[in-house]
């Protein structure tokens, strides 16, 4: 795993300041507002998640940060290089796209060599880097295989190896675990963490998986183009009062009224379920079940998750747009 030739990429950009600074970014597709005055900083060495449902604006933000889309207004900089200097910014980051950007007809090694050439790397220096990247991502014995013959997990690892070849201090990933089975997803996240811990690489990823967002240092929640909140998963969950009790019923409206009258607490009706945020939620579970045994078909109780944070902040379910998780 360790390599003597490995330099710390984060050290390459020595100046202080955040890895990414985003200020009042707005983007319109025609007349549709996709991003609305979004501002935040990403600190160096952070694993930063952009969380939101599809259509929330995170892909637009990702495209802007990876210099593929010019914002309608607002500014952003990457290691103090403004995005308007696209060529300057591109040196600072590696990108893993949601759709594969490796060439399936080429072997793993050919893909890496080609990518190295794009960064004007060549000769023995490039050979050494490719060998190193293959080894670090445990791809060495598949180096001669065409990418199209690899499993989804191995293809994604090839993408990652490719994006790290020029040793960028920042890695941008768009929905990196889409299409991976849970095991491969865990491995992939584990590797990202290692990369941050050992080499100080700043990692920014978009995701709509709560469990992925939970593992970020900080999360920005995007909803309908607006930044709803930014913070560590723990602090975000702190916004939500106490515990979460969700009650299902054959007639949720009438149960909602009954709960309000009996316990003086407001139950939100979301997608046919009643949702209550409350301290000492376990007592409420007992009370509701004892008071309305015939109305209740199912009760769940738990500590708030990021999904609860999302509901708390937006009043919408995360999957409200009719998508399957």
């Amino acid at each position: 795993m360790s390599s003597t030739a490995q330099t710390n990429p984060a050290a390459a950009s020595t100046a202080a300041g955040p890895a990414i600074r985003v200020e009042k970014l707005r983007h319109l597709y025609g007349s549709r507002l996709a991003l609305d005055e979004v501002s935040f900083d990403v600190q160096r060495g952070e694993i930063f998640g952009l969380l939101g449902p599809n259509g929330g604006g995170k892909t637009t933000l990702f495209k802007i940060l990876s210099t593929l889309l010019r914002p309608t207004s607002g500014t952003a900089s990457i290691f103090s290089t403004p995005l308007s200097d696209a060529a300057g910014c591109r040196k600072h980051f590696g990108v893993v796209f949601q759709q594969p950007s490796v060439d399936g007809k080429l072997t793993v090694r050919e893909n890496l060599l080609c990518h190295g050439n794009l960064y004007c790397l060549g000769g023995s220096e490039l050979d050494a880097r490719v060998a190193n990247a293959l080894q670090r991502l445990s791809l060495s014995d598949r180096a001669g295989d065409r990418v199209e013959t690899l499993s989804g997990g191995l293809q994604r690892r090839t993408e990652l190896a490719k994006s790290l070849l020029h040793r960028p201090p920042l890695l941008l990933l768009d929905e990196p675990s889409t299409g991976l089975d849970p095991g491969a997803r865990r491995d992939f996240l584990q590797y990202l963490r290692q990369l941050r811990d050992q080499e100080g690489v700043t990692i920014v990823l978009t995701t709509h998986y709560m469990e992925e967002a939970e593992r970020c240092d900080r999360v920005a929640i995007l909803h309908q183009g607006r930044l709803v909140s930014v913070g560590s998963p723990a602090s975000l969950k702190g916004h939500v009062g106490g515990d979460i009790v969700v009650v299902q019923s054959g007639d949720p409206q009438s149960l909602q009224t009954k709960i309000r009258q009996r316990f003086n607490c407001e139950a939100q009706l979301i997608d046919g379920s009643l949702r209550i945020e409350r301290d000492r939620g376990h007592e409420l579970v007992r009370d509701i079940v004892e008071s309305f045994p015939t109305d209740v078909t199912l009760v769940t109780y738990g500590k708030p998750t990021l999904e609860d944070v999302f509901i708390h902040l937006t009043g919408h379910r995360f999957w409200a747009e009719g998508e399957a998780a």
Binding site: A87, V95, Q99, D103, L106, C114, N117, L118, C120, K162
Partner: protein, 257 residues
Amino acid sequence: MQALLPVFALWRREMVRFVRQRSRISGAFAQPLVFWLLLGGGLNASFQPAGTAAGTSYVAYFYPGTIALVLLFTAIFSTISTVEDRKAGFLQGVLVAPVPRSSIVLGQAMGGTSLAVIQGMMFLALAPLVGIPLSLASIVSSFLVMCLMALALTSLGLIIAWRMDSTQGFHAIMNLILLPIWFLSGAFFPASGAPAPLRLLMNLDPLTYGMAALRRCLYLSGSGNVGPVPGMASSLLITLIFAAASFAFAVRSASRV
């Protein structure tokens, strides 16, 4: 030299992909071959190309036109793959690398041109079948003209590719722009037999001049009649301008993205 590495990498990728994708050979080489055999063979007995010497068979007349079709089809394939690659494929990664757009387009154009010319040269080997006597001079000069024509057509394809977001409307563009450019180039029928408005369009078609240069190169060694097509010098000059202008415009199209 370092700055040419990305260009070389993109060119080499096209070459490797071509070798590994047999279907592409059948698309760009076998299809024109079938057209030539069926159309040329079918029309051969019925038509004497207007303005050519008696005894010029249609199948021989159509032969250089088929070479141009090979070049055009290869350019069309590059165009389609560029659109797909850009949205959800290999080019995404290229676009976020610190590579100038001009280098990307140069690599693509070189790749497309090489593939087109390789297939054009394969087709050239069939020349003796239609009684075209090949000499070293005619092979070399045909090769050079093919390079210019292929660069022009590939660049034309890239202009379209970099301006399109999906391949959805591509069939319309192919049928309304790319194929008419070929139809009107004198590849399929000579200008001398066409009605005046069509002849005007043929004179405006930049590919007409590449076609004329190619005919003149094939018949360099004298025998046969190329018919009343534009002269060699003006044909070469206009083809050169066509290639250079298309390439420059392709770079501009790519730089907007």
